[in-house]
Symmetry: C2
């Protein structure tokens, strides 16, 4: 082996080791991925409940905007990364309720995730615009439909 | 009792019943409050980890902005409402790690929560401005200090 080739190989091996290390750093354990996604959806549930309660008992724009902002931030956070390969089964706070289909059909799963993000972002826009409670309720209904359609296909009842 | 007074009383009683009902609707169970706050802080941990990993291995503005947006949305969501009276002890995903001081000293607790929101909002501004990784890292450090100071005073190690 010529010295230059040897050096190239060495550099390649070092780069590979660094990349492997970075990959290891970037690949959280499945139990953490499951815990984080369960937490994220629990925060969505908390804020969906706040929006519903506010619409049912006198509309509080400030509270609904905070809640909508948080749901949109979650929906746009890159949730798909929490469903990485290796996290098909396992336990976070509890056993995952994700169906195998979420991993078998990432294109459809991603499409529904995109719908969730779109309607959540639109809810922030509607609330921010100063629309009345009826308009907010209508958009909130559209957002809830995206939750349901994804749950129907990709979540086991828990 | 004069008819008008009787009617006034009746209206008052109905209003009280409605208010009580609304209050019951607006007062979630302590175990839900604890579960929601544990979930919210777990989402903060997930996103703090993503920001740290990105700063440690080549700065990815898009990923850091998503993460910062989500932390800021949580910090500005009205987290204090998740520490309502009655949730001093109990179990969400696990036994609460909030110290009694969080409930005994709401002014200080709220002040530290305000610092958290301020630095999280500033992180979004810094990242959005297109600042370099060093500037983002500096602001992320300020944000992390607000986490630590609140944990020191108000959270038991878990």
């Amino acid at each position: 082996m010529k010295p230059i080739a040897s050096l190239t190989f060495l550099a390649g091996a070092i780069a590979l080791a660094a990349a492997t290390s970075a990959l290891a750093q970037q690949a959280p354990k499945p139990e953490n991925l499951i815990k984080w996604r369960q937490s994220a959806f629990q925060v969505v549930a908390w804020n969906s409940g706040r929006i519903k309660a506010s619409l049912d008992s006198g509309y509080d724009k400030t509270l609904v905007l905070r809640s909508a902002n948080l749901i949109a931030a979650i929906a746009n956070s890159g949730l798909g990364s929490l469903f990485a390969a290796g996290s098909e089964t396992g336990k976070g706070w509890h056993d995952t309720t994700a169906k195998p289909e979420a991993f078998a059909n990432p294109a459809k799963f991603g499409e529904l995730g995109g719908e969730f993000a779109k309607e959540a972002t639109e809810l922030v826009r509607v609330v921010s615009s100063g629309a009345d409670a009826a308009a907010v309720k209508e958009q909130f209904g559209k957002l809830q439909k995206t939750c349901k359609s994804c749950h129907d296909d990709f979540r086991n009842a828990n």
